[in-house]
């Protein structure tokens, strides 16, 4: 088998309109500045795509990018990214996935694949080390994601496909790889608009060898040790999956209930990871390779199926006031097979329930009732009946029917399952995240609620951590490794681990800049550096994260994004929750002002020229 030392630095550039492909060579400068994965994908799109293109038009580009760590055996490194302009939000979107396509693509000799144009007829791409073959997808067009993969996976070791939702341009259609998804932002609709049913990569043609193998092995060992020592990564998530969050969120008052009108529920324990492990006899079902092992499968209706993740459980469960895990599993399956993001699908269903209750929309969906949800999800994917309206997501529904105050989205993307009225920093993070309401850009609820390191109901220092978190998560998504490694890599180094909790909490809240310096995040850049053989330290790593984040913001501002869009649904800014002893709403305005200043944006949220210059971003 041939070997790739570190990265191949080759990316396929495919034009579907004229069935041709080319090879892009990644320079050392691009690698250092944009790392890989999301960062590099974004830069490649920025260099090739004008502002203002229709996300569902021929000119939009979608990039699939493997990470630098992919294939090296680094812990939790089986992840890849897709980056494009989202039809749901009209701005840049990226999504990360632990399916087999990333490994297949990288071991076919490619660091990524960039696709533009529109195929004349339904097409799928077969990739190997020689390049791309354009194949007729007529026989699988209309088939669900699992059936489609069964067909095209015969030609390789990993694929990405869309389901009927992507074909029908559902604004929150996703892309499937194995039983994992590039979930958010409607990336599946972009593939659908290009008549692109899937991409399969042959894989196993190359072995990936880190440039400095010995050093790499040392850091890998340290990383595994940290993961195995950390309570969240080795205990909670390993035993109960991401649904370990249910009880934590409920206790902290941030669980979404009844379309974000309450933050806790007496029956929440029924959908918790602890209960699911017992009732559904769960086992590991993870991305590969993985050390944390948060993905689980279990027995539902007598069959072994993937356990719905926390966001799915929270939004199809407590947020609809439904605590029937069998029903939620069924909806999880429908979304998976049809190829739809469960967060946006469930968010849209909860808007529909409330709008129906308020007489703004005509449907039979009701909070607390499972009736009609399966049928509605299938109708959304097929754009049948009211499903055609719902396929547009909550922002457009509210524009058409009213109900904007309870249309729980930011920039058009539906809210994940954490209520920011119990975590003000999360409110800021949702409002400013580049792809819209995103819980992964900066997971402030972890600091404020799960770990209790910061006061959740204050504004103090939140802008600093949101900025820091954005830079870290963007860099990690560009390596690319699992964001959950952050729990272990940030909290397990001795300096943090052995500092008394009370002292740590005081420092985090009152001495933000010192606390950040105190944090040892060197493991990520060390892993990156030993694989590529290029120098990278913590400061350069964070700067790369900031650069990618600001480039994405700048690209979004070219699409019309500004301060007016960095906001939250009116419900979170104006309405209190029933259980709070005093009315609590997110005090966004003042946090936003400080955040802009820290980021180097003007008062309207636009990156200043000098900020772009600082990061070497050429204005277009």
């Amino acid at each position: 088998m041939q070997e790739i030392i570190g990265t191949s630095n080759k990316v396929l550039e495919v034009d579907l309109s004229n069935k041709s492909f080319d090879i892009i060579t990644i320079t050392d400068k691009e690698r250092v500045e944009y790392l890989g994965g999301k960062g590099l994908g974004l830069k490649l799109i920025y260099d090739r795509m004008d502002a203002g293109v229709d996300p569902l038009g021929e000119e939009n580009i979608i990039a699939f990018m493997g990470g630098v760590l992919m294939g090296t055996g680094a812990p939790c490194s089986g992840r890849f990214d897709a980056i494009t302009k989202s039809p749901l939000t009209g701005i840049m979107a990226s999504s990360s996935c632990g399916g087999p396509f990333g490994m297949a693509l990288k071991t076919s000799g490619w660091d990524g694949i960039v696709v533009k144009g529109v195929a004349k007829t339904p097409t799928y791409l077969a990739v190997d080390s020689k390049g791309v073959t354009f194949k007729n997808a007529k026989t699988i067009w209309g088939k669900d994601t699992q059936a489609s993969q069964k067909v095209i996976d015969k030609e390789g070791t990993g694929s990405v496909v869309i389901g009927p939702a992507g074909e029908n341009l559902v604004k929150f259609a996703n892309i499937c790889s194995g039983q994992r998804y590039l979930g958010r932002g409607g990336l599946g609709a972009v593939m659908g608009s290009k008549n692109l049913k899937g991409i399969v990569a042959k894989g196993k043609e190359f072995k990936i060898i880190p440039k400095e193998k010995e050093k790499f092995d040392k850091y890998k060992k340290k990383a595994i040790k940290y993961i195995n020592n950390n309570d969240l990564t080795s205990e909670a998530y390993r035993k109960f999956g991401t649904n370990a969050n249910v009880n934590l969120a409920n206790a902290g008052g941030i669980l979404p209930v009844r379309n974000f009108t309450k933050g806790l529920h007496g029956e929440a324990h029924k959908i918790s990871g602890e209960t699911m492990a017992e009732v559904h006899d769960t086992k590991f079902h993870t991305c590969k390779p993985c050390t944390i092992l948060c993905g689980h499968k279990g027995t539902f209706g007598g069959k072994m199926k993937p356990v719905p993740e926390y966001e799915t459980i929270g939004l199809f469960g407590s947020n609809l006031e439904i605590f029937d895990t069998e029903a939620i599993s069924e909806w999880n399956d429908i979304c998976g097979e049809m190829g739809m993001d469960t967060i946006s699908a469930a968010g849209t269903i909860s808007w529909t329930m409330e709008a129906t209750e308020k007489g703004l929309f005509d449907s039979k969906l009701k909070f607390g009732s499972t009736d009609g949800i399966s049928e509605t999800l299938k109708n959304i994917a097929k754009r049948k009946g009211m499903g055609d309206d719902l396929a547009e997501g909550t922002k457009r529904l509210a524009q058409k029917y009213g109900g904007k105050d309870f249309a729980m989205n930011v920039k058009g993307m539906e809210l994940p399952a954490y209520d920011p009225r119990g975590s003000y920093g999360q409110g800021l993070s949702y409002a400013v995240a580049n792809r819209g309401a995103c819980h992964l850009t900066t997971s402030m609820f972890v600091l404020e609620v799960f770990l209790g390191m910061m006061q959740p109901y204050t504004k103090r220092g939140k802008h600093v951590y949101v900025d820091f978190g954005e830079n870290i998560s963007t860099a990690v998504n560009s390596l690319h490794t699992c964001l959950f490694t952050a729990f272990a890599y940030e909290l397990e180094p001795p300096l943090i681990k052995y500092t008394p909790t009370f002292l740590l909490n005081i420092m985090v809240t009152n001495m933000t800049a010192v606390a950040i310096k105190f944090m040892d995040i060197s493991l990520w850049p060390e892993l990156w550096s030993t694989i590529t053989g290029q120098k990278m330290n913590t400061s350069k790593f964070l700067k790369a994260g900031a650069r990618i984040n600001i480039l994405e913001r700048y690209m979004n501002t070219r699409e019309g994004i500004s301060k007016k869009d960095d906001t939250l649904p009116p419900r979170l800014l104006q309405e209190g929750r029933t259980f709070d002893s005093k009315k609590r709403t997110v005090p966004l305005e003042s946090m936003l002002k400080k955040y802009y200043k820290r980021k180097g944006y003007d008062s309207n949220g636009i990156p200043k020229d000098r900020t772009l210059k600082k990061y070497g971003i050429e204005k277009k």
């Binding site: 524009q399 009213g402 109900g403 309870f406 501002t557 070219r558 007016k564 104006q574």
Partner: protein, 381 residues
């Protein structure tokens, strides 16, 4: 331009404007058989406004309940909360201390209180056909065009009924002078839009015209002194102009500039007033090019009698458009150069036009597209 042979004109509200006019509210409420008003205000209402308003009730022995939970968005939930508070506290009148969302919520609460005793549904198809609780509008200088009208925009639904007019409008110089420069500009732009669109109909309504022209004159004469020099009388005149423009607009069908600007605001979040300021001159120029003459009274209203009388008759319509452009030019910081400068992608224009025609079926999609395309890129005109 023909005048309507038969026309109707409705101006329900009594208007009190000037110094210390706030102090007249208790007496006026008594005349409306009310004594326990619910006062609605924004959640960021200033202490000064709060104190000035409270002081005005000082000697009257009349008390009020304050609901200051209104944010930037006028949604059903806030209207319900206000209606519930109204009932709980046994109130008998509504006072909107503020513009835009405050007045919309006040109208929404009034619909709920008067039409649906159980507060179940507030939907667009509610037929509003009965007298409501007394409603008072107290502007803070940030009017968005619908406050003094028979219309309400609640949760993106437009309600229209003569019963939605406020009963009383109280314009007090102590309150309107504190409006921000941005709010004053936007308020003036919405009044210009309402006035110009209502007085540009094929068949003109002379009563509506007189309100529209008075509004234009007030704004044209006072905008600089009001906004840049913050003169009390000018700020008061601008608020008066906004109310008069609003009343003229209430007696006319919704025009293309208003509809399109609102569509852009709803879809993309840009201020409708700023967009209206951009679209207005383009629309008038398109009208001229289409041989639908711009009325020469626009020049009279904006330029005054001296300018009007010294301009040859043929040149007056075009001169009016030029004066409007000059006026808007003075608000350049708040009016975009073109739609492109707002980073609105060109592929969105069709979506905007479609949405606008869905909200106002009297306007043709192709006319909206023509207007949007003309306003898209200044360099291409």
């Amino acid at each position: 331009m023909e005048k309507l042979k038969d026309y109707s004109f409705l101006c329900q509200p009594k208007i009190i404007s000037g110094k210390k006019s706030l102090e007249g509210i208790p007496l006026e409420l008594s005349d409306l058989n009310a004594s326990k008003p619910l006062v609605l205000a924004m959640n960021n209402i200033s202490d000064k406004h709060r104190k000035t308003f409270t002081k005005a009730f000082g000697d009257s022995n009349m008390s009020f309940t304050l609901f200051d939970g209104i944010g930037q968005y006028a949604g059903v939930t806030a209207a319900r909360e206000a209606a519930i508070l109204f009932r709980e506290r046994g109130c008998d009148a509504l006072i909107a201390l503020g513009d835009g969302p405050v007045m919309n919520i006040a109208k929404g609460a009034n619909i709920l209180l008067s039409m649906d005793k159980h507060l179940h549904k507030l939907t667009n198809d509610v037929e509003i056909n009965q007298h409501m609780k007394p409603l008072v509008y107290v502007p803070l200088g940030a009017a968005m065009g619908l406050e003094a009208t028979s219309k309400a925009d609640i949760d993106l639904n437009l309600y229209d009924s003569p019963f939605l007019y406020p009963d009383l409008i109280v314009i007090d110089d102590r309150l309107v002078i504190d409006a921000s420069v941005e709010d004053m500009n936007y308020s003036a732009l919405m009044a210009l839009t309402g006035s110009i669109e209502s007085s540009s109909l094929e068949l003109s309504n002379p009563m509506a015209d007189s309100y529209a022209h008075a509004s234009l004159a007030y704004i044209s004469e006072n905008i600089t002194k009001g906004i840049k020099k913050k003169k009390k009388n000018s700020c008061l005149a601008l608020a008066n102009g906004a109310v008069m423009g609003s009343i003229a607009y209430s007696n006319a069908p919704e025009g293309i500039v208003y509809t399109t600007s609102k569509a852009i605001e709803r879809l993309l979040g840009h201020s409708a007033a700023a967009v209206a300021g951009l679209l207005l001159p383009h629309w008038l120029e398109l009208k001229s090019a289409d041989k639908k003459p711009v009325r020469d009274v626009l020049m009279l209203a904006l330029g005054g009698f001296d300018v009007y009388s010294s301009t040859p008759k043929k040149e007056r319509p075009h001169g009016g458009v030029n004066l409007l452009e000059d006026l808007i030019h003075n608000m350049d910081d708040y009016v975009p150069l073109d739609l492109k400068s707002l980073n609105i992608p060109q592929y969105k224009l069709k979506e905007i036009a479609q949405y606008a025609t869905e909200t106002n079926s009297t306007i043709k999609k192709k006319d909206i597209l023509t207007l949007l395309e003309r306003a898209y890129d200044r360099e291409e005109i």
